[in-house]
């Protein structure tokens, strides 16, 4: 019944997986042998197979978040051998394939670690903090039905492209997981840069920067020290240039707020 691919190229791996029964339970690393793994499997399909075998033995399967399995929903997030989403650049765990590993390998699988991302169970964490950062100002207020014709506002291609580069964020949290400071700067900055690069985003630009940075801090994420780990871990290749943009917007907004004497946005 186990779903093993019969290619004859099966690998035998040893998994070291973080198991934690619930939010308040103590967790620990548990070792699982994983024989007969096909190199064509995705990493999550490998976990599926391991789970099917666990269930057959009457053991609770390993809980992990996943949904689209095509690298766009941002659900999956695993620290694999000490790097976020595993060894392959620009790739989420669901798109990582077992051909990136060798027969006999040890694989360490841990949840994202951050105070702002508490563990719920095993490898599942709560990333609600990201939603709250967006709630603070990660939008353009354009109520349904109000807009003008889409082509009434030409936007230089370079600006639109920069916006798109930063809008590509899937909210997976790899940036936080990989950052030695558990900082959410790249996530926050990507949204600030996306919306701030577009003319539609200008009216709320100052307020957005102040409010989103304040919320990011409020959630208990660390600060940016420009290690660059987030950019390396980001499956969508978002550049830390965004963080420079966030800092500029934040400082400029602070200065503007002083001038206008109407500082209220970030409190």
């Amino acid at each position: 019944m186990s779903a093993t691919h019969a290619t004859g190229k099966g690998m035998t791996l040893t998994l070291h997986v973080w198991r934690q029964a619930g939010p308040n339970a103590a967790g620990r690393i548990v070792d699982y042998p994983a024989p007969d793994i096909s190199p064509d499997m995705s990493f999550l399909e490998m976990l599926d197979v391991v789970n099917e075998r666990l269930i057959a033995k009457g053991e609770e399967p390993i809980a992990f978040d996943h949904d689209c399995r095509e690298g766009i929903c941002g659900s999956c997030g695993l620290m694999i051998n000490g790097s976020a989403h595993g060894p392959m650049k620009l790739t989420t765990a669901c798109q990582l394939h077992m051909r990136s590993f060798k027969d006999g390998d040890d694989i360490w699988i841990e949840p994202w670690r951050a105070k702002a991302f508490p563990v719920i169970k095993d490898l599942v964490v709560d990333r609600g903090a990201f939603d709250r950062i967006i709630q603070a100002g990660g939008y353009i207020s354009a109520p349904t039905g109000t807009p003008q014709d889409a082509n009434a506002l030409p936007i230089p291609k370079a600006d639109a492209d920069l916006a798109m580069d930063n809008a590509a964020c899937i909210g997976c949290g790899a940036c936080v997981a990989a950052c030695p400071n558990a900082s959410a700067s790249l996530f926050t900055a990507a949204k600030i840069t996306h919306l701030g690069s577009l003319p539609q985003g200008q009216p709320e630009r100052d307020r957005r920067a102040l409010a989103m940075v304040a919320q990011m801090d409020e959630e208990g994420f660390g600060g940016c020290t420009l290690h660059g780990e987030c950019q390396e871990a980001c499956p969508k290749g978002i550049s830390i240039d965004a963080i420079m943009q966030m800092n500029r917007d934040f400082v400029r907004a602070s200065a503007t707020a002083v001038q206008a004497k109407e500082w209220s946005g970030a409190a």
Binding site: I29, W108, F221, M244
Partner: protein, 218 residues
């Protein structure tokens, strides 16, 4: 002044303060190093330079106060950010592999502590003379030669300057980036510039204790 409180309360505000004060300190360090290199011209030049600095009187104290405030803000922000960053990850990974972060970026805090200790010693050594075996108010050249004859002391200077180089390599680059002085970072020019700066400062400062130990300066 509530805006100032809010600015300082945020991690981005603190980083901005660190970047601004850091750049001020880099400016001082470079000027200090250039002044020091006059040791190689000779005792007369060095003592004359020192006397010139002292003759500025109040201006000197303004500069000293500025540096002190910059250093104090830099250290306070660094301390607070360190605490925030530590609290942000209460439980670490069983296994974590740095991918791109450098030795320099990961040792900023340790380097900072070494530098702080060094600055205190250095001020007591050559400014007030407290830790100096034979301090002279006017003979700066002689103070340096005598002060660095002990291999232990010279060794500490060499170690501290290595820490300074490393600190500058990441700090100078991170400082301008934090301030967003450069938007796009596709080309690595700024990294190279900060590498150059770090090497020049490290070499310039280290040359003196090494030269004293080797007897080139005496």
């Amino acid at each position: 002044m509530s805006w100032l409180r809010t600015f300082w309360a945020s991690t981005v505000g603190k980083k901005t303060v660190m970047a601004v004060t850091g750049i001020m300190l880099v400016g001082f360090v470079v000027a200090h190093m250039l002044g020091n290199l006059q040791m190689f011209i000779g005792a007369e030049a060095m003592n004359k330079y020192a006397a010139l600095l002292k003759s500025t009187g109040e201006l000197l104290w303004v500069a000293r106060a500025g540096l002190l405030v910059a250093a104090a803000l830099h250290i306070t922000a660094a301390y607070q950010l360190t605490m925030i960053n530590r609290a942000a990850r209460p439980e670490g990974y069983a296994k974590q592999e740095p991918q791109v972060s450098t030795l320099a970026s990961r040792t900023m805090r340790l380097g900072g502590v070494i530098l702080a200790a060094f600055i205190i010693f250095h001020l007591g050594h050559f400014t007030t003379g407290t830790f100096h075996p034979a301090f002279s108010e006017t003979g700066v050249y002689g103070n340096v030669i005598l002060g660095l004859r002990s291999p232990l002391v010279a060794g500490f200077y060499v170690l501290a300057m290595a820490a300074l180089g490393l600190h500058l390599f990441h700090g100078a680059w991170a400082g301008v980036r934090t301030l967003g002085l450069r938007k796009r970072s596709a080309d690595p020019m700024y990294r190279r510039l900060s590498m150059g700066l770090a090497i020049v400062v490290w070499a310039g400062f280290t040359a003196i204790p090494v030269a004293v130990l080797l007897g080139i300066l005496n």
